[in-house]
């Protein structure tokens, strides 16, 4: 029986691997995701029939409640709220980790008053009822730490992504709290592991509270626009927390699956950091970029003063009417304006006229890796029209009109020219090489990095101010009337 159970976990882990492998092409991704879901179901079934599980009622209640809430959330969320959704789910998962660790602690405590066997049932590596193994203590604390930090950190991230929590000013204060908390945590861990493993209720409670605070204080000083990096990192941590729980419970399914998630989070994090040309340390501890680099409104206005060539939707329509090749350059503003459908409609009209239409996707356009892809996929843009930066950059030279839709930093030439710029070194989309560049944004506000953009004052740049969706719709109307 035990062998069967373990075989079940192994099969589930293998299915997860195949599930993630499916994610390597858009064609197989849907099936891959389903495979992962099946793997999860299998793991749950195996866990339920596992030898020491006896109270099905509670488990089923928990599963039902969770499924209902989860399904509701998934149905409700808008595509544009994906970053917040992922962050929130991540936080919920962290909460689960935290509770698992706490429950495990309580049960081991109880079991140790019964028999060695009862303890071994929970923690197979135990050999002495009075002395839990070091790895158990460390894993419990690690699970609590990662779980709690993920819980509060993710919800702070949600707040920041929604713009409800602004960039912090008292960075020094948060950093001090973080340092103190870590000291206290280390002391607590040492005491827990060395002195009193099973009589530390208050200590554990204290550590939980401390870790919850820690989560808040770690994420507060990070700039709002860096939240995707934070979420991805926390996701990686929650995977590693699962692996840590696997070590404690002697469960290889948990170890393997947790490691997969951990690896995925780390890789996505490093991809984002590389694409922004910043180190992870700089993202996490460098404070908000906008707060540092941001220029005041008056400075910003002075930069653009009198150098902007304004244009309108009508003019844009005329330009497009004569164009052979048009490239759309979507950015965060497209997500804000929810202009993906309007974009698609305009693109279709142009294609019907025989115009060659492509989309240039910068690796960190938007606020999540692959953000633009998902957004445009929602509007049924075929994914082979979405071209990556390195492939599309040489094509701008032969492009008649490049339409920049709510993008800013990813098309800022300062990245390659101005060593003092906070985005210096980040590769950008070379839109300026197009014959005409049309920038659609609401005003002259800077993007995430908080710096002005020289592109907007170039000779071949026209600015159309207004909400991206509105402007596009007007352009469509104008184009129809031509």
């Amino acid at each position: 029986m035990l062998t069967l159970i373990n075989l079940g976990y192994l099969i589930s882990a293998v299915l997860f691997i195949y599930g993630i492998k499916g994610m390597t092409t858009p064609k197989t991704a849907v099936r891959g995701n389903k495979l992962s879901a099946i793997a999860m179901l299998l793991a749950i079934i195996v866990a339920v029939i596992d030898h020491d599980v006896v109270r099905y009622e509670y488990i089923i209640v928990g599963l039902l409640i969770g499924s209902a809430i989860g399904a509701y959330m998934a149905k409700k969320v808008a595509m544009t709220d994906m970053p917040e959704m992922v962050a929130a789910l991540n936080g919920v998962g962290g909460g689960a980790s935290l509770l698992v660790a706490a429950a495990n602690y309580l049960e081991v405590q109880k079991a140790s008053t019964i028999s060695l066997e009862a303890v071994q049932n929970l923690v197979p590596a135990v050999t002495d009822i009075a002395q839990m193994p070091m790895q158990w203590s460390i894993a419990v604390i690690l699970s609590i730490l990662i779980g709690a930090v993920t819980l509060t950190g993710s919800f702070v991230a949600v707040g920041k992504l929604k713009g409800k929590i602004g960039d912090a000013t008292q960075i020094g204060l948060y950093k001090a709290i973080v340092k103190l908390s870590f000291l206290a945590l280390i002391a607590g861990t040492v005491y827990f592991a060395m002195v009193s493993q099973l009589n530390s209720d208050l200590l554990i409670l204290g550590m939980i509270v401390l870790c919850l605070i820690l989560g808040v204080c770690l994420v507060m000083p990070i700039g709002g626009a860096d939240m995707p990096v934070v979420v991805s990192l926390l996701n990686s941590y929650s995977g590693l927390a699962g692996a840590a729980a696997g070590f404690v419970l002697g469960n290889n399914g948990l170890i393997i699956t947790g490691s997969l998630v951990g690896a995925s989070g780390i890789i996505l994090t490093s991809i984002m950091c590389k694409a922004m040309n910043r180190s992870l340390t700089n993202v996490l501890f460098g404070g908000s970029m906008a707060a540092k680099a941001g220029i005041s409104k008056s400075e910003n206005d002075a930069f653009y003063e009198g150098k902007i060539k304004s244009s309108s939707a009508d003019e844009l329509a005329m330009l497009l009417d004569g164009a052979q090749k048009v490239i759309f350059v979507p950015g965060y503003g497209l997500a804000v304006a929810q202009a993906q459908h309007a974009t698609r409609e305009l693109a279709r009209m142009l294609e019907e006229k025989g115009c060659d239409v492509k989309y240039a996707i910068h690796p960190v356009a938007g606020r999540m890796p692959g953000h633009m892809n998902v957004l445009l996929a929602e509007a049924e843009v075929p994914y082979d029209q979405l071209v990556e930066m390195d492939t599309i950059n040489p094509e701008f030279v032969t492009t008649d009109v490049a339409i920049v839709l709510g993008a800013n930093d990813v098309v800022n030439p300062a990245a390659s020219k101005d060593p003092a710029s906070p985005i210096f070194g980040m590769p950008i989309l070379d839109v300026q090489n197009a014959r005409t560049v049309v920038v659609v944004k609401r005003g002259l506000a800077p993007g995430f990095a908080g710096i002005p953009n020289e592109l907007f004052i170039r000779d071949n740049t026209l600015m159309v101010s207004g909400d991206a969706k509105k402007v596009l719709q007007d352009t469509i109307t104008a184009l129809k009337d031509l």
């Binding site: 849907v30 995701n33 020491d52 595509m79 994914y383």
Partner: protein, 94 residues
């Protein structure tokens, strides 16, 4: 061979598998990958089930915590997979 080394071996291999596979995921799919792996991290539900369904060694508090953990993890799982599925089914080739 002691349990810890075995677990470590498995961990190391799993990290290799993870890194090799994830590195092949194209940027187009990074957002679904993020939400998909996020759903997968709900695997802690297994720990929660083992913890909360145990025999004589549960306490009321541990059961409450365990069931809450199950509910939270299930939210993460169900919402995560469904949302990922929603996103992925939008990806279409011309």
């Amino acid at each position: 061979m002691d349990m810890f080394m075995l677990s470590l071996t498995i961990f190391v291999l799993a990290i290799f598998v993870g890194v090799e596979i994830i590195n092949k995921v194209p940027p187009t799919l990074h957002t679904p990958l993020m939400s998909g792996t996020n759903a997968i991290s709900g695997i802690v539900v297994v720990g929660a089930i083992i913890s909360s369904g145990g025999g004589g060694h549960t306490t009321t508090l541990s059961t409450v915590l365990g069931v809450t953990a199950i509910a939270l993890a299930t939210i993460n799982i169900v919402a995560g997979f469904m949302v990922t599925d929603r996103m992925l089914s939008m990806f279409k080739k011309k």
